[in-house]
Symmetry: C2
Subunit: 244 residues, 2 copies
DNA sequence: ACACAGCAACTTGGCGACAAGTTAAGATGA
DNA sequence: TCATCTTAACTTGTCGCCAAGTTGCTGTGT
């Protein structure tokens, strides 16, 4: 199996490669038991710790799980949801369109401290109050994204009162007379979840999160309505970024 | 510092949070020494192994490095290059436009075995030969992306001979008379590098890679020229995905 | 023949002792 | 006084033993 690679590749990575290869090639199916640490250690002629480290990484990446006293098993591969990352429709609409059972929970509405960069983005002055509204997006009961919106009370006077109840910002804006929206300056980057984010998204520390930040503007007036920051679980999504 | 969180957050994650917080808040600067494992173990009242695991993760994510016998130190934060992920210009042009010193190394040109999904994407029949051409992209001497192109000899008869010398596919296509290009069905996902990819990109196993797959088409004829797969180091880039 | 307790052989989980490397201070000798 | 070696006290790295949990076999008593 390991077929004598040249040199200098540490064995831990090699073991990960081998197991991953067996997963993607479907040599092993979900639920199947992985050979024990001692067996693998003997097979690769490495100390058990090396095998342990490799398997721990696979567990933290969400491919396997372990039960003390029993063994390690392959998890069922979670099917990745395809999502249009850009565009003019809201997160809520995108998911509804795609036919998914989307639920949203409002978890946060608080005033935040002054921050020059952020305040500038939404054209807020130092004297304005900026509110951070946080929601968690669930699909089939599974948390899959954390969605933060930053809005100023200059533009939305009732936001302090309304904020804690809002589930869709677009719906809120529509109720206030805004009709068409667009996103600007969308930036994508990768991060790992903090312990708080791990709790909210119910995931291990080694699941990368896709961070999308953008400004949402009102098409009619060209005004910036909010700054948006969404943290997606990268294991639950495939993103369609095709330009129309 | 750790300020009594409710419960059930394992200490390892908490230590990572704390160190990360000190990095982003610039409480600690690059090159600075991190407290020793024993000191941290005493501070958080956890076994040294827990501290070790936390610091090992930070090292594999590229934030710190360690020297046996000396200690652990903060790495200099690598500035992230901003890149337009979509669009009609080639990778080469994008980077040149942005003013970066881009070098490309051709590492691979080989015929690949039949694969229904892939062959269909580029309109190749089972009898055609499909070639996989691999290049590594360097910026300031640092490898930052692996770029694979899949082309059939049906469309490009000389590809077997020309392939190993190609550094920019777009330049090759232009030489053959194609003028304007577009990408279709762009899909973005996240993966971790295999040991081979780690060697090519000179990075640790815990640096997520951004995978972008798309079809490149000739605007004039609407024909699919190639299937493209690019693996970007997520720590070296921020992606601008704004729609024009 | 059957039920059940106990044990042995496996599994994964955790920790502590030691190995290996670095540094700086201090002893030693010319 | 100066150069050099020794040593002790730190650092990170590695390994192996034992704890904890599960399973199945086996012996024993009814």
């Amino acid at each position: 199996m390991q077929g004598g690679l040249p040199i200098s590749v540490d064995m831990e990575t090699q073991i990960i490669d081998d197991v991953m290869q067996q997963i993607v090639s479907k040599t092993m199916k979900h639920g199947e038991k992985i050979p024990s640490e001692n067996e693998l250690a003997a097979k690769y002629k490495v100390p058990r710790m090396t095998v342990r480290n490799a398997l721990t990484k696979l567990e933290e990446r969400g491919y396997i799980y372990s039960i003390q006293g029993k063994g390690r098993y392959l998890k069922e591969a979670s099917t990745q949801i395809q999502l249009h990352l850009t565009g003019k429709t809201s997160f809520t609409d995108k998911m509804k369109e795609a036919g998914y059972d989307l639920k949203t929970e409002n978890i946060l509405c608080e005033m935040i401290a002054y921050n020059e960069q952020l305040f500038n983005k939404i054209n807020a002055n130092k004297e304005d109050s900026v509110y951070k509204i946080g929601r968690i997006r669930y699909i089939n009961g599974e948390p899959i994204a954390i969605h933060y919106s930053y809005v100023s009370d200059k533009m939305f006077g009732e936001i302090e009162k309304d904020g804690p109840k809002i589930k869709s910002m677009f719906a809120y804006y529509r109720k206030l007379g805004y009709k068409e929206f667009a996103s600007q300056k969308s930036l994508l980057s990768i991060t790992f979840p903090t312990s708080e984010e791990q709790q909210l998204l119910f995931c291990k520390s080694m699941i990368p999160l896709i961070v999308v930040e953008s400004e949402c503007i009102d098409v009619a007036s060209n005004e910036v309505l909010e700054h948006t920051k969404i943290l997606y679980r990268s294991d639950k999504f495939k993103y369609d970024i095709t330009m129309d």
